[in-house]
Assembly symmetry: C2
Amino acid sequence: MATVTRATRTRVARGGIDLGGTKIEAIVVDSRNNVLGSARRPTPTTGAPADVAKQMIEAMREACKAAGIDPGSLKGVGVGSPGVVDNGSVSNARNLPGWEGKFALGGTLTKALRTQVFVGNDVQVATDAEFRLGAGKPYRSLLGVFWGTGVGGGLILTGKPWLGRGGAGEIGHMVVKIDGARCTCGRRGCMEAYAGRASMEARARRRVDKGAHTDLFHLMAERGRTRLTSAIWAHALERGDKLAEEIIDEAVQALGAGIASAVNLLDVEAVVIGGGLGVRFGEPYVKRIASAMQPHLFHDSRPPDVLIASLGDLGGAIGAALLAKATRS
Amino acid sequence: MATVTRATRTRVARGGIDLGGTKIEAIVVDSRNNVLGSARRPTPTTGAPADVAKQMIEAMREACKAAGIDPGSLKGVGVGSPGVVDNGSVSNARNLPGWEGKFALGGTLTKALRTQVFVGNDVQVATDAEFRLGAGKPYRSLLGVFWGTGVGGGLILTGKPWLGRGGAGEIGHMVVKIDGARCTCGRRGCMEAYAGRASMEARARRRVDKGAHTDLFHLMAERGRTRLTSAIWAHALERGDKLAEEIIDEAVQALGAGIASAVNLLDVEAVVIGGGLGVRFGEPYVKRIASAMQPHLFHDSRPPDVLIASLGDLGGAIGAALLAKATRS
């Protein structure tokens, strides 16, 4: 058998871009999904989709530079995007600036990078990455839960992504409390209204307005941030901040109820927890979420395996790069 | 082409038994799923699984007699059973007498009826019947919701039943209210705790104990029943019974939230509503459930079609008979 050299593997290098509400993560991987180069840029908070696309192109060029590869020689680039993805176009990406309408993201990037660009749903590509390369490898059915600014879900059933009519996986908007808290989506009682980072921050502000004490916003100012990042929540918990503990506990209870509901409906083999907060809080919180699921599981004598996403922060970008592989190799 | 005569079609007749908590429904169908004969018996409320099996055998023999066919000449019999079904055995059927442990239902019936008996989950076979022969025919993905004593769910994804690890479809035990009402399963806040007929009856009793007025139990006594049947609920609603309206409205709200949650997760094309209450209340209530779903749907501009089960009361038995077809023809 011929030995595959690094030179051979880089000749089939692919790009992956994870487009998040906070940051753009671009990577270049070889045929074995080893990362050859990466770059990170903040996601623009103002402007239009074209401004976001420009930052994505720049990030990809930087990642290529780090890998010593010309973007045009990549065997395709995959993008994991929020919003509704339809044949390379993205609409309704409500965490991105001015992105309610449809924008031809795939076409724009294909032209600028001189290689074909494939666009998929961010949460679904991250789930697919965990299934094919990460914590989900031993299973045939899987629920990916990405706990970050929002709470997204991805499904693998019988070894294949389940997309429904294109909009499946909105686990964050499963109702865990009828007439409950207002969600960032405008509805009431969604799991995300309790567990999404954005909602958690809004809850913390409201309680401070009502006289509660917390170091959360003090830590935020100290670090020169404008949002309560996962790191700030983690730090507040380490310091025993009571309000932070209370809000995180409510988030864990909501995740437990919502994920257990999904398991009662689908009876999947495993649940993989990722996302900014999921990865930051890690194993101890995965155990807490599994405990919070337990009282709601109908088949409680054989719960699914509940695991931390093993590809960590880069999972989204690695999953995106798989999009280019699936359609090209 | 040869003409298929009635005689030919009855030579490939199959049996179907729907084993419910209240009644046992047995039918004989021809190769085109036309019902040739049927029989109904009350499900024993005391005794052991063998007593239930005995009534099932008797019901099947009666249905055969009505169809003019010897049970032994049937090309198999299918059974839709509650509980956990595993290779012909049934365990954990909590609405049936003394049926916590495992009972070899398929083997017992095969021996008595002298034809092979196939056992499947009751809700799943009813969903399959609606998908193959009923309201679900135009779709490739489907959620069946059976609103009766409990609330069961069945899934068809990409044209095939989705069973998970064998226990999928427990939509009645999705959590719609954290720390909510106590469910008959012992957990809190399940959809079934608000929408299941058994829970609705318990809620009515508790409110009467607290001084609420209702004709529900009066109607029950008048009809010589020991439970609030679907017909009694329907009659109370016709008479404008306030407590009945209130409890049914809570049930509809819970169904709306729970079914919308399932749709947010799976994005199926259609939802088919069946079950004792679903079939009894019919089209107007299907519309009310669809309206109750709407505020919770994430993709609210394109809700799934929500339809009444078109096979009605016999759907479960027809679906059961399909089990014999799938494996024999």
